[in-house]
Subunit: 320 residues, 2 copies
Amino acid sequence: MKPYVIGIDMGGTNTVFGIVDARGNVIASSSIKTAKHSNINDYIDELYVEANRIIVANDAVDKIHGIGIGAPNANYYTGMIEDGVNLPWPTPIPLADLVSQKFGIPVAITNDANAAAIGEMTYGAARGLKDFIMITLGTGVGSGIVINGQLVYGHDGYAGELGHVIVKRTNGRICGCGRTGCLETYCSATGVARTAREFLDIRKEPSLLRNMPIDEITSKDVYDAAITGDALAKEIFEYTGNILGEALADFVTFSSPEAFILFGGLTKAGDLIMKPVKNALDKNILGIYKGKVRVLLSELKESDAAVLGASALGWEVKPV
Amino acid sequence: MKPYVIGIDMGGTNTVFGIVDARGNVIASSSIKTAKHSNINDYIDELYVEANRIIVANDAVDKIHGIGIGAPNANYYTGMIEDGVNLPWPTPIPLADLVSQKFGIPVAITNDANAAAIGEMTYGAARGLKDFIMITLGTGVGSGIVINGQLVYGHDGYAGELGHVIVKRTNGRICGCGRTGCLETYCSATGVARTAREFLDIRKEPSLLRNMPIDEITSKDVYDAAITGDALAKEIFEYTGNILGEALADFVTFSSPEAFILFGGLTKAGDLIMKPVKNALDKNILGIYKGKVRVLLSELKESDAAVLGASALGWEVKPV
């Protein structure tokens, strides 16, 4: 097997990519602006030129086993970005074909959370685990489910949207998906900010969070207040962690994973969020699973994680 | 491959078993009393004598590929019944070893709902499906999850307990598992009877169900009333189906199945339950899955289903 893979993390604004070895070292990386090109072929051309530059500079020509791409709504089965997403080109986009034809290297694509799960299994906290669930806590809540060592794609390629499990059936928060009460409206970074605004509105006690414009409060502000001991801010994390832990307990009944791996901005809150998550999981879990399921933090450096996750998919492609 | 398997459905009262061919025909069947023997070895001995009688009578000696057993809390990985269950012997019971040593035939075991899923995939409504979820609606609610053509056992062998997903976080019904609000407290046959008692207690309108002692009402009584047009009885099924459909919509976000297969006593209510299930699924499902997931009824005859389900596992055993 060739010694390197390329991981490409394609976002609406930037596309970051890197050459990665089998131990998860990012040998070299670079990026281009996604939104700069109104024509997808111009984008692919620039991606190729810039990636090839680092390939040549690092003596990696003919040493790339495969290319993995993490992209919004990317379908592993079809190699397409099928749905309307925040990208400057009309969908469906035959992304895997376009990139593999340009590079002459086999390509696999999936969404970011699935890529994160494969990355964690290949290089991170899930090494050696065959049954685990990755939960990404960022702007939204994403998930990648691994069963028996294999990522779950489902019959259509879109399995693992656990951020859209309904956690409040009545008076739930409005979600970007058009429904109400989804997990991600509570347990994402934006969910924490929404909780802060709700709490500040309903409750009367003093809080450092009252010193800033209520509509500008971010999860980072809540964290900053909580670590100085602000009681209301700490309660916001407890509320968030409790909802997440309850949801995780339900997820266990599905695939009986040995661990959850949490990743993303919210996990920086450390014990402020992890303790209530673990407590609620333990309190709500069905008896036969009790004490069997660990909650772990991602072991991938956040700055590299997206590229590493995507790159891990590059090991799974079949040679053309 | 040898032409037959044996399926054994082990219940607390009776153990039913049969010889099954590759097309799902039950060539011959019989049963013994489970609870008759206080010693597990006496039970295995009688099972062997009685099964061997039908094997010989049907010219099936040396023609049995494997034995599959469906039993409460049976663990596929360990071959053991590990937990306290309604059986007359101390646990753990090394059931697979005991039976395979006695019969000289390889044995695999799992719980009833998993066996039902494999049975449906081998002989029934799930033939040709690689991603589906079996939901059994009996005294409780069980489930068997198939992803990519493989049953999901989870890291400990106990995956697929969807009857214990929490559907009511506040004021939920007490469940036999010791928690509250589990799906099976609403959507099992006993759940329907509980709903009937609740509705009759709270509501004032007339109903045929008021003609019987409230504590003796069964789901069958509710069905009988509903098909004569009793509005309250029909509403009980709508309430039940709605909760189940909401839960199924959440399950889709996990494994994106192409179908749910419903099995068990409650499905006899036909459209009374199927319509609200399908409506609630359609209404609550995340956009990307809309219109992709079918809700099907089991195609296995209920009297044979447990033996057929168990037998299907018999095809999967490796020769000793």
